[in-house]
Symmetry: C2
Subunit: 392 residues, 2 copies
């Protein structure tokens, strides 16, 4: 029986909680709080699915899937941890289907998978935490890109940028990994908050950070392809090389001119850095080694070039190491000991060492993850654009 009060409550519920979307969603029912990070650093995950037969949690701090259990309302839950403070991707497997957490707005921008993010704060705020310091700004920008297409950039400007109107800044071009987007260093890497905190501590120079989208071919196909988008499954060597070259061309010919016209950037090599993660690290090394007149600071996170590619395409870098060492104010290579690219990255380090090319390196715990990317951003940005850079 529905009482009058109950009817009123239901009406209020209908008015206050009107979704903007009438898709086939789980029926309205109990509102679910998930994830819930508890004071003891355990995390409770919840997912409403009265009809599901099995729900599992898949999280990057766990070795494997964690079974969840269903309560009388049809809410599945699991409490895990305590978990080491950091930001982790996770999702649910519902009867074998991977889904984001519908109750969580924090998401991992990516072309191929969908994951949510859970933030476990430290007892003292971590380097990527929102602290009570002056904040820079994140700007979404469009720029004229290749083949008449419009590219998109995410650009960080440091605190005070909009006040110090005569000041110019160095620029760090920062490229995310395969299947990531131009948003990933912002939404997952928290690059803006890391810089806000490092700048507040006087550890990093105020800088502009430009985050491009790495997959030029996909964007061109989307905007130009009409009914026939380029088939991304064609991934032979020649096509991959073309895509890498296209990225470099677009960055040098379109992105940098756009940024230096639109922002108060210092337009010379000593004030340009380039870095990236995974595929973005490969794009970083290729772009830098092909444009030694453009970048003086180079950071490869969890990535490398093979000795074969170095010998074949970048002999000028290793043939005259003294010149290279003079030109590059920083060459950084870092990787996690559990990263599946660990072996290749260490081989790259050994190669540079054998060729007497100076570089700074960091080997961390962990794998090919954005937890490590945040560590590398926090470790490298204090080195950029400093007149005295420590040498290994």
């Amino acid at each position: 029986m529905i009482t009058k009060t109950r009817t009123r409550l239901l009406l209020l519920w209908a008015i206050l909680f009107v979704p903007g979307l009438a898709l086939a969603q789980p029926p309205r029912g109990p509102l679910v709080v998930s994830p819930q990070v508890n004071a003891d650093k355990t995390i409770t995950f919840r997912y409403l699915a009265p009809q599901a037969k099995s729900v599992e949690l898949s999280a990057q701090f766990e070795k494997g899937p964690v079974p969840m259990t269903k309560d009388a309302q049809g809410i599945w839950s699991a409490t895990v941890g305590p978990v080491k403070p950091d930001i982790y991707p996770y999702n649910f497997r519902v009867d074998g289907v991977s889904v984001m957490d519908p109750a969580n707005v924090a998401f991992f921008p990516n072309e191929r998978f969908k994951a949510s993010l859970v933030d476990v704060p430290g007892d003292t705020p971590l380097i990527h935490a929102m602290r009570d310091v002056p904040h820079g700004s994140i700007n979404y920008e469009y720029y004229p890109s290749m083949e008449g297409t419009t590219g998109s950039l995410v650009v960080y400007t440091p605190p005070g940028y909009d006040q110090a109107l005569s000041k110019k800044y160095p620029v760090y071009y920062l490229i995310s990994g395969t299947t990531d987007t131009e948003e990933t260093f912002f939404k997952v890497g928290k690059t803006n908050l890391i810089l806000d905190n490092l700048i507040a501590e006087g550890k990093a120079k105020p800088m502009i950070i430009v985050m491009p989208y790495g997959n030029i071919a996909a964007r061109i196909a989307e905007q130009k392809g009409g009914s026939k988008p380029a088939d991304p499954t064609v991934r032979d060597g020649a096509d991959a090389v073309k895509r890498a070259n296209d990225f470099t061309t677009d960055l040098v010919s379109n992105v940098i001119p756009y940024v230096e016209k639109s922002y108060r950037a210092i337009p010379n090599r000593d004030n340009r850095a380039i870095g990236g993660f995974s595929r973005g690290g490969g794009q970083t090394l290729r772009t830098a080694f092909n444009n030694m007149d453009k970048f003086a600071w180079v950071c490869a996170y969890s990535s490398y070039l093979s000795p074969q590619e170095m010998d074949g395409n970048f002999s000028q870098i290793v043939a005259k190491p003294d010149q290279t060492n003079k030109q590059l104010k920083l060459l950084w290579v870092s990787v996690g000991s559990d990263d599946f690219l660990y072996k290749g990255t260490v081989e790259f380090m050994d190669y540079l060492k054998a060729k007497n090319v100076n570089f700074k390196s960091l080997i961390t715990d962990g794998g090919h993850t954005w937890m490590n990317v945040k560590t590398y951003v926090a470790a490298t940005t204090p080195l950029l654009f400093q007149s005295q850079t420590p040498r290994p």
Copy 2:
């Protein structure tokens, strides 16, 4: 048998297509192109799920779910349409579980559901299309909010804002719907592109648009709650009123001062507009009617206040209609004829008419959707901050 060439290809594949995330994902297999908008405005949706028993498409241009069929590779697909050019939310139901399209980066930011977006372009570019015109910028900002928390805003600055450094601009405060976030007017509403296009056509005045997050209580709980976030299922009348009041207080006491300090805003009522969709429309009307000294332009999209609330809380608005009509340069109310709030909104229009309060109205086809929100944004922003506003 794996040949040497095949091994090389697999290695290349591993290097080029390294996901940054090793969650329990569908195994790597054929890369899926989805959605594919065809030249004839049909759309092909695809989803890889070799093990699934049933996959359906749920899209806002369809009356109900559309069955998809599986090919030999395990890719489910459906081609639908032709579809009227617009941007539509959709997702898949995989064995009854709602999932976003993993192959699509365009998503609908929301607290409670997860949907992807498909953009069907018009034969001539629609008002929200990316056109070759000067683009403004979208800025993500943090501001000091209630109870020591940090709020987030998305702010549109018009083309030329960073060049015309002595120019000041009017500001439109624009609030999204229930369960939407501060990103929804940007990512789904394409408010920035609509304004870029209207400004390029000389139809709208260059303005700053500030998009706050409507759910203050949730943010405070998240940042202050620790192990005990406020239970959002408590939705009785008093709590709902408190939440609405908190939103108004935060907007007036924190957001506006932050914006007028950080941006070149003209800080007076004639140059402040407020508008919103659904719950955001209710927040708009309450905030405006409680702060007649702050806003001269008011737009309610798909929302209304009841005659009871008007009589009870806003008698000063209707008691002296001549004064109200002089103060408000625009009061706008619009709704779709299939909107489940249609009846209440029309009742609100009738109420205003009976009370001799001037307003402009628009009744469109369609429902409580972001397709309609885009129409309303495009219809109202040309009216804002104009010295001559047409009267009904």
